[in-house]
């Protein structure tokens, strides 16, 4: 397609999708930085109505992607102590603040793993998430393929999770993610030379496990650039009604390129971010209602003393902790304890657990009781 054609299309339609096929016969196409295309006036990939994506060979096309009930996001942080620091705290704040507006909505739910190990990642993937976001170090090994750097042991040293192993975990999930965002170096990069064996990068291996969208990087990315891209992407994806992936990728590239605080070379790293897509028509993640004909369940009776703090939107839901307690209970543990220093919210969490049991009846609970051994008032934030 010539540039004139693109220009005319842009005027005729709301948006233009450019899909670059990576043919089996020409593996070198994958190594070309198509995201740097320039039409004489501007970078095509930066145009807010031009959506650029790649279709790796061998990927079975899908018409559209839908998710059930709500968007479930798994956020994975990894910063091995024996690798260069990533200023991950700054990114954590940026990402979290980007997610904050949707935290109160019922259409999005988050689970977060800080200091992620192989075991934690595997276990979380098995649960089944719609979006998996990874941030940390990554790379490509000529023999073993792409890898993500996870943490191991108390010293939080590096342990590589290779693409093939990650793909296995994806295959074992309750359902494959709709989107995997690998915000690390060389997650989608392939060597210029060589044959088909070069497609051992993390992004393409993951796509082989029926993941329709993967956002990955061509080569090395800068920490600051990665943060701007992520923020722009998340803001856009979570802003509208639908979760429009290509549009959000364009917004992420735009946020990076338009940043005032980055140098020119840093801003031009926008092209590092590519979208691999198996979708032919649908570009957004459509939420479909849960299956009809739900069995009506009787909520277990809640009986508490007057000091019960209650649960409302004024409290932060500790989903991660709730999940750990649930795992312990499902594992046959009848007596579970939560311990920690004062002020962290143990009392509030205990109320959240009872509330959770009110809506999840797998435990066959008929009564929920709450006792306090010694009185305390609960502090509320001034909301």
């Amino acid at each position: 397609m010539g540039l004139e054609k693109l220009e005319s299309l842009r005027h005729e339609q709301d948006c233009v999708h450019i899909r670059i096929e990576e043919p089996k016969e020409m593996p070198q196409v994958a190594a070309v930085p198509w995201e740097l295309m320039h039409d004489g006036d501007e970078y095509t990939a930066l145009h807010p109505r031009v959506y650029l994506s790649r279709i790796p060979f061998g990927v079975r096309p899908v018409e559209s992607v839908s998710i059930r009930g709500k968007l479930r996001i798994l956020i994975v942080w990894s910063q091995p102590t024996d690798l260069p620091p990533l200023k991950i705290e700054r990114e954590q704040m940026k990402l979290s603040m980007a997610l904050a507006p949707s935290l109160r909505s019922t259409r999005v739910e988050y689970r977060e793993i800080v200091h992620c190990t192989k075991e934690k990642f595997k276990k979380a993937l098995k649960t089944g998430y719609d979006v998996v976001y990874f941030t940390g170090h990554g790379g490509f090994d000529a023999e073993k393929g792409g890898f993500l750097c996870l943490e191991k042991g108390k010293g939080h040293k590096n342990e590589c999770l290779y693409a093939r192993e990650l793909a296995r975990h994806m295959a074992a999930a309750a359902h494959p993610p709709a989107l995997v965002f690998l915000n690390c170096c060389v997650s989608g990069g392939v060597p210029v030379g060589g044959g088909q064996e070069r497609f051992q990068d993390t992004a393409r291996r993951v796509m082989g496990e029926k993941v329709p969208f993967v956002i990955a990087t061509l080569t090395s990315v800068l920490v600051s650039g990665a943060q701007y891209f992520m923020k722009g992407f998340m803001d856009s994806m979570l802003a509208g009604e639908g979760f429009d992936i290509p549009q959000a990728v364009a917004a992420g590239r735009g946020a990076l390129y338009d940043s005032d605080s980055l140098s020119s070379s840093e801003r031009h790293s926008f092209y590092q971010y590519m979208l691999l897509s198996a979708c032919e028509k649908g570009w957004s993640l459509k939420i479909r209602e849960e299956a009809q004909g739900r069995v009506e369940v009787v909520e277990p009776v809640l009986v508490t003393s007057s000091e019960y703090p209650g649960v409302d939107l004024g409290w932060v839901r500790r989903i991660d902790l709730l999940s750990d307690v649930e795992d312990a209970v499902q594992g046959g543990c009848r007596l579970v304890g939560v311990h920690g220093v004062g002020g962290l919210g143990k009392t509030i969490f205990s109320a959240q657990w009872l509330d959770y049991l009110g809506h999840h009846t797998q435990m066959n609970v008929k009564h929920r009781l709450w006792f306090l051994t010694y009185g305390q008032g609960c502090h509320r934030l001034p909301v």
């Binding site: 942080w77 705290e89 704040m93 979290s96 603040m97 997610l99 904050a100 935290l103 109160r104 988050y110 977060e112 800080v114 009986v303 508490t304 003393s305 932060v316 839901r317 991660d320 902790l321 307690v325 312990a328 543990c333 007596l335 579970v336 304890g337 939560v338 311990h339 920690g340 004062g342 002020g343 962290l344 919210g345 143990k346 009392t347 509030i348 969490f349 205990s350 657990w353 009872l354 049991l357 435990m363 066959n364 609970v365 008929k366 009564h367 929920r368 009781l369 709450w370 006792f371 306090l372 051994t373 010694y374 009185g375 305390q376 008032g377 609960c378 502090h379 934030l381 001034p382 909301v383």
Partner: protein
């Protein structure tokens, strides 16, 4: 004996169970549980299973209170109930606690509790908390520079309570950078708690210490009363308690519920048992405790006067008001005693306990008497038997009386037995006559006439040997004469005959006093 003063866990825990039973319309069971001082923990578990069935999920919050008898004199006892519930039912439990524990018993495999540590909030949870706090008009996270946002996010927002303290401190301040710089320099979480406390005046801090030392939430009126007296004693401040309480509440250092003020456990722990630089010294604590005791008295006297006036106007309510006054008085004495005892002030403890002993048995309702007995039994257990103190005799005497009043005869006999053994071991048997008499009365109540007669004989001999209090002697003689009407004991009747022969006036006094029972009976 420098202990933190806290209320009775037993009262609180049983109160919670009663509340839950009331919530499901089990008022008769609620009453049963409230009245049973000797309630078997396993029996409690059975009762609750009967009410709630086998499929139940239960939270027991703040279990750290159960782990140390130094914090709560009845912690171990309540732990027995929690253990019985956890191990005697098939319910699912979630415990929360500062420290971990197991339900182990000597020689048995402990019941496994799977402990999970609650850590600081995760990044998205912090963002959620900040977004909730922002936009209230007085605090907006977006007002900070990016660098300051990072400091707040990384160092403060992970701990919800600290964030709350920070928000209150940040409100209305123009120099937010300076505030964040100051906090950033303090590396320890607890040192930061001190920072927020230290921002307040001496008077505010003293009020905080006072509330920390109180054994239960107290309403503003009573706190004001204590505060006025504290001012007279040492504090040079003109700030009224109302203002101080309001400031401390506004700055998230105090919580108020139904008009009563209290501290969060994290702050009380920090102030009384942690590393706080504002931790009151033993001497300061002692002074404050004395003040609290004194003020409880004064407050009670004032309340009595007000209610007496009300009583005179509404004579038809006389009984009800009188009953209220009695309970109020006992509760006040009880609380004052607890403060004295916990702070190791034996002199005040003895005085208060003696007063309690005069008031308790006759005036308390059955339920209150049970609560009182629980406390006393634990004090008996806690007393060091190796070191004889006047407090021992008083505690044993009072405890025995209360237990006997509750018809818990075996326990009462055991307590009197300890008292006698201790007195003999220390060579101080001059007051044994009283204890023997009380012990004899327990046997008499059980219709064990022979045993009672033998013990009364010992009591009488002791009184005669040490030339005991004449009024008490008369009571003992009367008991002896009464028991001799039920059984025979030659030695006792011979001794009485000899006594009356030597002192004919005594026989007359005893005869006369039969018509008017004395208070000690």
């Amino acid at each position: 004996m420098d202990r933190a003063v806290t209320g009775s866990l037993y009262e609180h825990f049983i109160g919670q169970i009663r509340g839950v039973l009331r919530g499901v319309g089990q008022s008769s069971l609620e009453q049963t549980i409230g009245d049973s001082v000797n309630l078997d923990p396993a029996e409690l578990a059975r009762m609750l299973i009967k009410v709630f069935g086998a499929d139940c999920a239960c939270v027991v919050d703040n279990c750290e209170a159960l782990l140390d008898n130094a914090d709560h004199f009845d912690a171990e006892q309540v732990m027995r109930y929690v253990r019985a519930l956890a191990t005697g039912t098939k319910w699912h439990f979630l415990f929360t606690s500062r420290e971990t524990f197991t339900f182990g018993r000597e020689g048995r495999e402990p019941h496994p509790v799977r402990w999970i540590e609650i850590e600081e909030l995760l990044p998205t949870e912090r963002a959620h908390l900040l977004s909730l706090a922002s936009g209230s008009g007085e605090f907006n996270f977006g007002d900070f520079t990016e660098e300051d946002q990072q400091t707040v996010f990384t160092e403060i927002a992970g701990h919800p309570y600290e964030l709350n303290l920070f928000i209150q401190a940040a409100k209305g301040r123009d120099d937010l950078n300076a505030l964040i710089d100051e906090i950033h320099r303090i590396t320890s979480r607890y040192a930061r708690l001190d920072y927020y406390i230290g921002r307040h005046s001496v008077a505010h801090r003293a009020m905080l210490q006072l509330v920390a030392l109180l054994d239960q939430p107290l309403e503003e009126k009573k706190l004001s009363f204590i505060w006025k007296n504290a001012q007279k004693q040492k504090l040079e401040t003109t700030l009224a308690a109302k203002q101080l309480l309001s400031d401390l509440k506004k700055n998230a250092l105090l919580v108020e519920s139904d008009g009563a003020y209290d501290l969060l456990p994290v702050l009380r722990h920090h102030l009384l048992r942690g590393e706080s630089s504002f931790r009151p010294t033993s001497e300061e604590r002692k002074q404050l405790h004395h003040l609290i005791v004194k003020v409880f008295y004064a407050h009670f006297e004032q309340a009595t006067q007000v209610r007496s006036e009300a009583l005179s106007k509404k004579a038809e309510d006389g009984d009800r008001v009188a009953a209220w006054l009695s309970r109020e008085r006992i509760d006040m004495l009880h609380r004052a005693f607890r403060h004295s005892w916990h702070v190791g002030d034996l002199e005040s403890s003895c005085a208060l306990l003696e007063e309690l002993s005069d008031q308790a048995a006759g005036l308390l309702s059955r339920h209150s008497l049970c609560r009182y007995a629980v406390m006393l039994r634990d004090i008996v257990d806690a007393l060091d038997e190796e070191e004889w103190l006047p407090l021992h005799a008083i505690v044993y005497g009072v405890t025995g009386k209360v237990l006997a009043g509750l018809r818990m005869f075996d326990e009462a006999i055991s307590v009197y037995g300890k008292s006698i053994k201790l007195a003999k071991a220390t060579g101080d048997d001059s007051s044994l006559g009283v204890t023997y008499h009380l012990l004899g009365r327990v046997f008499e109540k059980q219709d064990e006439w022979v045993k009672a007669a033998k013990i009364f004989l010992l009591s009488l001999k002791n009184y005669l040997q040490y030339d005991g209090n004449p009024n008490e002697l008369i009571v003992v003689i009367r008991s002896c004469k009464r028991i001799l009407e039920k059984t025979e004991l030659t030695e006792l009747s011979t001794l009485l005959d000899q006594l009356f022969a030597a002192n004919p006036e005594l026989a007359k006094v005893v005869e006369l006093s039969r018509a008017e029972p004395t208070q000690s009976e």
